[in-house]
């Protein structure tokens, strides 16, 4: 997914705190609902992907260090909802994560966030460093 030429309609940065993140999630969902064409199922998908991405950025990326910032951008239209979340951590390699659906790991408590993001969103890309994700949900026009 190319991010060149994207016109983010909202951009902000905030210290690593889940309260800030939850406020931004609520704002983003309100914007989706205001457009009225997004289904509840799609709004749920965006909510879950944002929740998991912010948790990854704040707790895994920035290690909950309030001196480190989370950078957020969004673009919400009737056709697509697109988000960018970047932390100030060292990054990670998504391909190196164990598959939590593998029977060997199914009982392990953690490691499901990235799988949920990929499954609930239409397109998901991490940057080379692995500290930023761009993800988009394309609206299903047949609903």
């Amino acid at each position: 997914m190319s991010t060149a030429g994207l016109n983010w309609t909202y951009e902000t940065s905030f210290p690593s705190s889940i309260e800030h993140a939850h406020a931004l999630i609520e704002e983003s969902l309100a914007e989706l609902r205001q457009l009225a064409c997004w289904s509840d199922r799609e709004v749920f998908a965006v909510q879950l992907a944002l929740e998991e991405s912010f948790i990854n950025a704040i707790t895994h990326g920035n290690k909950s260090d309030k001196g480190k910032m989370v950078h957020f951008a969004r673009q919400v239209t009737p056709e697509v909802a697109r988000f960018r979340i970047e932390d100030e951590g060292p990054g990670f390699e998504p391909a190196n994560l164990p598959d939590p659906t593998d029977p060997r790991f199914i009982d392990i408590a953690s490691g499901r966030g990235v799988l949920l993001i990929r499954s609930f969103m239409s397109n998901v890309d991490y940057n080379e460093k692995g500290n930023a994700v761009v993800m988009e949900k394309v609206r299903n026009k047949e609903q």
């Binding site: 939850h22 509840d40 199922r41 909510q47 998991e52 659906t101 953690s110 949920l116």
Partner: protein
């Protein structure tokens, strides 16, 4: 002092924990909720546990983690654990992560209660 996150009732020898929160995505809420569910298993008379999610409309992977931890403790103490009332969207998250193969999940509380009567129904 922690907030009450579950309502607990008994039907015969089945302990039913009804989740009170609509959203399970806050660390403190999940911690309290998970702790209260785990504490149920400290009672040796509580070996059939039904968790009712009918009020829950959103849960993060952190909440899934808490249920997995609960499942491990249930296995350790030989308790039967069944989940019910899971919203369709959340159920999709269970399917994607294949946790639907780890847990016994029933549509309604009544279905859950009935399934305890079938020997070995719970995973």
């Amino acid at each position: 002092m922690s907030t009450q996150r579950i309502d607990v009732k008994k039907v015969a020898d089945i302990t039913i924990a009804v989740c009170r929160d609509m959203k399970l995505n806050d660390d403190l809420v999940i911690q309290e909720w998970g702790d209260q569910l785990l504490a149920l298993l400290d009672d040796k008379s509580c070996r059939k546990v039904l968790i009712n999610f009918e009020r829950v409309l959103f849960m993060s992977s952190s909440a899934l983690r808490a249920i997995i931890t609960l499942n491990k403790k249930a296995k350790d103490v030989a308790a039967l654990l069944i989940l019910c009332g899971i919203d369709d969207n959340i159920m999709e998250a269970f399917r994607i992560t294949r946790l639907d193969t780890v847990f016994t999940i029933k549509k309604t509380e009544d279905d859950g209660i009935r399934s305890f009567t079938v020997a070995g129904d719970a995973k």
